[in-house]
């Protein structure tokens, strides 16, 4: 009988492991509870890019955020956001908006294709911007 009772009791080493386990479960629960409210992130993007933008534009949001991209263009063309399967036509002088929920984490390119398809070198061109959706 005694022996059986002894096996039911967790050995001290297991008890040491239990604490971080419980703590991490609690942390995950709190993290999801606190981060329930999605925030709206708005970005203004001009085409062609202003000189100040230099290299690449990285738009950083968190998973679950509502993202609004506002495009203002001086030329006609199309915006492609392949990963999220979004695209829109752009005309000069008109503001166009793409809005969506950042449902998948990752780094995604937002591409600009000028009208006329003359952009043969577009293969190597850097994207208009990169959207970075980070996990919470």
């Amino acid at each position: 009988m005694k022996n059986r009772r002894r096996t039911i009791e967790p050995p001290p080493r297991v008890r040491v492991l239990l604490f971080p386990l419980l703590a991490s479960v609690l942390y995950c629960f709190l993290a999801t509870a606190v981060a329930a409210e999605p925030s709206v992130k708005t970005f203004e993007l001009t085409i062609p890019r202003a000189a100040a933008d230099a290299q690449t534009r990285v738009l950083r949001v968190e998973k679950g955020d509502l993202v609004q991209l506002r495009f203002r263009s001086e030329a006609a063309g199309e915006i492609h956001f392949h990963a999220y399967r979004l695209d829109t036509k752009v005309a000069p002088g008109i503001s166009v908006e793409l809005s969506f929920k950042a449902r998948a984490t990752g780094r995604f390119r937002i591409e600009w294709h000028p009208a006329g398809g003359a952009e043969r070198k577009g293969h190597h061109a850097s994207p208009l911007a990169t959207l970075e959706v980070r996990p919470k």
């Binding site: 290299q55 036509k89 390119r109």
Partner: protein, 485 residues
């Protein structure tokens, strides 16, 4: 319409909307990687654990209690199941080879809408590597060129030709496995640096060219000699497969079950060319990641600043130079560590040491492949589901899966990060473990064995830290953050 937001609900509408694009604009969409760099904290923890565990493994072996080698695996006889499976595999793989060529030549030009690039670059090259490393070398049964050659050979023998279709030339011994080393570097060059590698028509042409070369090679030198020396894919998958728990049995009707990794230390590689091949495997899996790093970018800028003629608009020259430089520096570092070991042990030449330990680096290569490609395979591999219904991009729906569109959120970044760090650390520990076990078997005295594996352990730590750095590195890339308002 001043404000517009449009979401295309089905793949077909989306495809139709984009159909008017010039095809080169498409190529990058195919290979676009969505991975976020691994945060610094993960990197630091991973590196620290890898280094610490290296010492733990060494200490365990120092005590000598892990020196008792377990038995080398058990043979499982499966009767007629294996030959039947092999024939089924060969029929499937020859069919797929033909499909790739037909889809490439006659299908749509859009790489994402054509079966050929997805099947070759994602399912076969990445996916099959995973299967071979984790389960066993199924490529032996799947190899369509081997199946074609053996089929032709058997047919010729039935007709009455005593030698089948082989011409019986002797493979030049001086060449050794160097053709395979060259072909592996060339293949990775195509994969990583050649922008048209995803163009279906080019891919079909390359597949046909390789089919011609490899069949001709087998006809000239015989299947076995060709596969052992020049057939890059046979050698690549066979090296990966030596890690797996299932190995080829003593005959065609049985398999061997063994401890994962034990196949890598069963026997040394045959030649220095094979050492170069194994190092090329490690260098090439890392190369794709290294290409995006600041270090290589700085190297490029420095090189162009020094000699502006080096810059071509596709970056071919510098890309090729850096691929070869990475391979040669890895090879140099490995040979140096072998030389150091030979100096410490003093019972055999450095070349023998290099051949002995080369395959212990394979787990590091596999671990990095898992870290680098798992999310890519899981996200982009889904493209195969709609494509099997419409391999040529003609609007067919053979199996009713055409409406499926990949879910890019199927694996969260946090899962990918954990998987990357855990796999790199585990791969590192397996490599160190194998190196120590091998040293103990070869050098007998535990203390001498541990001493002998110090140079290789140091090198493995360096390779592992490079793997971790490559996963984390883009974190420090420059970029002007957007301004959320």
């Amino acid at each position: 319409m001043t404000r517009g937001s449009r979401r295309c609900r089905s793949g077909q509408i989306w495809a139709a909307a984009c159909w008017s694009l010039p095809s080169p604009a498409w190529a990058h969409a195919f290979g676009e990687r969505y991975d976020l760099p691994v945060p610094l904290g993960y990197f630091v923890v991973g590196a620290a654990v890898a280094v610490a565990l290296s010492f733990v493994v060494a200490a365990l072996f120092m005590r000598g209690d892990s020196g008792k080698l377990r038995r080398e695996g058990s043979v499982v006889a499966l009767g007629p199941v294996l030959p039947a499976l092999r024939i089924a595999f060969q029929i499937v793989s020859v069919t797929l080879l033909c499909t790739v060529v037909v889809a490439g030549l006659f299908g749509t030009l859009n790489p994402e809408m054509n079966l050929a690039p997805v099947l070759v670059w994602i399912i076969w090259w990445v996916g099959l590597s995973f299967v071979v490393a984790c389960i066993g070398n199924v490529w032996r049964a799947l190899d369509p060129w081997r199946a074609l050659f053996e089929g032709m050979d058997a047919a010729a023998r039935r007709v009455g030709l005593a030698n089948g279709v082989t011409l019986g030339f002797t493979y030049p011994a001086s060449l050794g496995a160097w053709p395979a080393v060259f072909l592996l570097l060339l293949f990775v060059w195509i994969e990583v640096l050649y922008p048209h590698a995803v163009m279906p028509s080019r891919l079909a042409a390359m597949t046909l060219a390789w089919s011609a070369v490899t069949l001709l090679g087998m006809v000239c030198f015989g299947g076995a000699a060709w596969r052992r020396n020049a057939d890059v894919f046979s050698l690549y998958f066979s090296a990966l497969g030596r890690f797996a728990a299932i190995g080829a049995g003593p005959d065609a009707r049985s398999l061997v079950l063994r401890a994962p990794g034990s196949g890598l230390i069963a026997s040394p590689v045959e030649s220095l060319a094979m050492v170069a091949f194994v190092i090329a495997m490690l260098a090439t899996v890392l190369f794709d990641g290294l290409l995006g790093t600041q270090a290589l970018l700085l190297f490029r800028h420095a090189a162009i600043g020094w000699l502006p003629q080096l810059a071509d608009d596709r970056g071919y020259f510098l890309g090729t130079a850096s691929l070869i430089a990475v391979w040669l520096s890895f090879l140099g570092a490995y040979l140096l560590s072998s030389f150091a070991t030979a100096q410490l042990v003093r019972d055999r030449p450095a070349g023998a040491i290099a051949r002995l330990f080369a395959l212990t680096l394979v787990p590091i290569a596999i671990a990095y492949t898992v870290a680098h490609y798992f999310s890519y395979l899981v996200v982009h591999g889904q493209l195969i589901i709609p494509l099997i219904s419409d391999p040529l991009g003609r609007g067919w729906d053979l199996f009713g899966t055409i409406q499926f569109y990949p879910d890019i959120g199927i694996i969260s970044a946090r899962v990918t990060w954990h998987l990357a760090i855990v796999s790199i650390v585990v791969g590192h520990v397996i490599s160190i473990w194998l190196a120590h076990r091998l040293a103990l078997r070869e050098f007998h005295a535990p203390r001498q064995a541990v001493l002998a594996s110090v140079p290789l352990t140091v090198l493995m730590v360096i390779f592992t830290v490079i793997s971790l750095l490559v996963m984390a590195e883009p974190l420090v890339q420059f970029g002007t953050p957007g301004t959320p308002s």
